[in-house]
């Protein structure tokens, strides 16, 4: 039984949502593969990071409740990778192809974020909700541990 709200579950399986999600996962795995082929620890770590995020984009269960956080993480990871390349990276054809893939990836994830999470304001709302839940859990634990 999914823990997602009914409205989100319905939206999750619309054709547009499936196309968007497939694009996100596909583009993420394309850039992961490119980085894996470059060799070296840094690129391998980058490939593992992208693969993990691709898995987190489709993993069922509780992670579905914080998919917005995965999307933010993916946008941040891709942006950091582009930034690192602009600052230190080598310029050669495959690098330009990869950066184009990452720019498109950021755009597609942003569209998905807008549709599924209601844009930046929606993300802020969900972040506040998450913080409140975590704080509630923490205070609940502390209350349970407190001497009576």
């Amino acid at each position: 039984m999914s823990t997602l709200p009914l409205a989100e579950r319905a939206q999750q399986f619309s054709p547009t949502a499936i196309v968007l999600r497939s694009l996100v996962v596909g583009l993420t795995l394309v850039t992961a593969t490119i980085h894996a082929q470059l060799g070296g620890l840094l690129f391998l770590a980058n490939a593992i990071g992208y693969t993990t995020l691709a898995l987190a984009m489709v993993a069922p269960g509780p992670i579905g409740q914080v998919r917005w956080l995965v999307r933010i993480g993916l946008i941040g990871f891709a942006a950091a990778t582009i930034g690192g390349w602009l600052l230190f990276g080598a310029r050669f054809p495959l690098a330009y192809v990869d950066k184009a893939v990452e720019v498109v990836l950021i755009a597609v994830v942003a569209v998905e974020l807008w549709r599924s999470d209601g844009g930046p304001l929606g993300v802020v709302r969900q972040a506040r909700g998450l913080v409140a839940r975590l704080a509630g859990r923490l205070t609940g634990t502390q209350a349970a541990r407190a001497p009576r």
């Binding site: 996962v25 082929q37 060799g39 490939a47 693969t51 898995l55």
Partner: protein, 126 residues
Amino acid sequence: MTRSILGRTLLLLASGVLVACTSATGAGGSPPLAPSGGAVITAQGIAFDRQQLEVPAGRPFQLLFENREGAPHNVTIYDEAGPPLFVGEIFGGPGSRTYDVPAIPAGAYRFRCDVHPEMAGTVTAR
């Protein structure tokens, strides 16, 4: 159903990434011969086969670079201060390029791979 297809596709692509990770290295072999009056260097296992290169000073020379693996590499020669003296073409292997390096004054310089800066060494022009 949709989730199942998506999951299988993802698994297939993820295994492709793993295969790519393990296929970056190429076959070994004896080092190639240096061009007359030039130098030779080989890349394999995300490393150069030497950390020291000796090249002639004050005249153009050829640098034979053999890349023995799929990962892209090149050789760039640079002075610590200032722009690179020579930037070799980046290419994926297995393959080789004979770089035509312009004359560089006598002295010690650094060389490296621009894609993997940890692959580096010293060039002595004399």
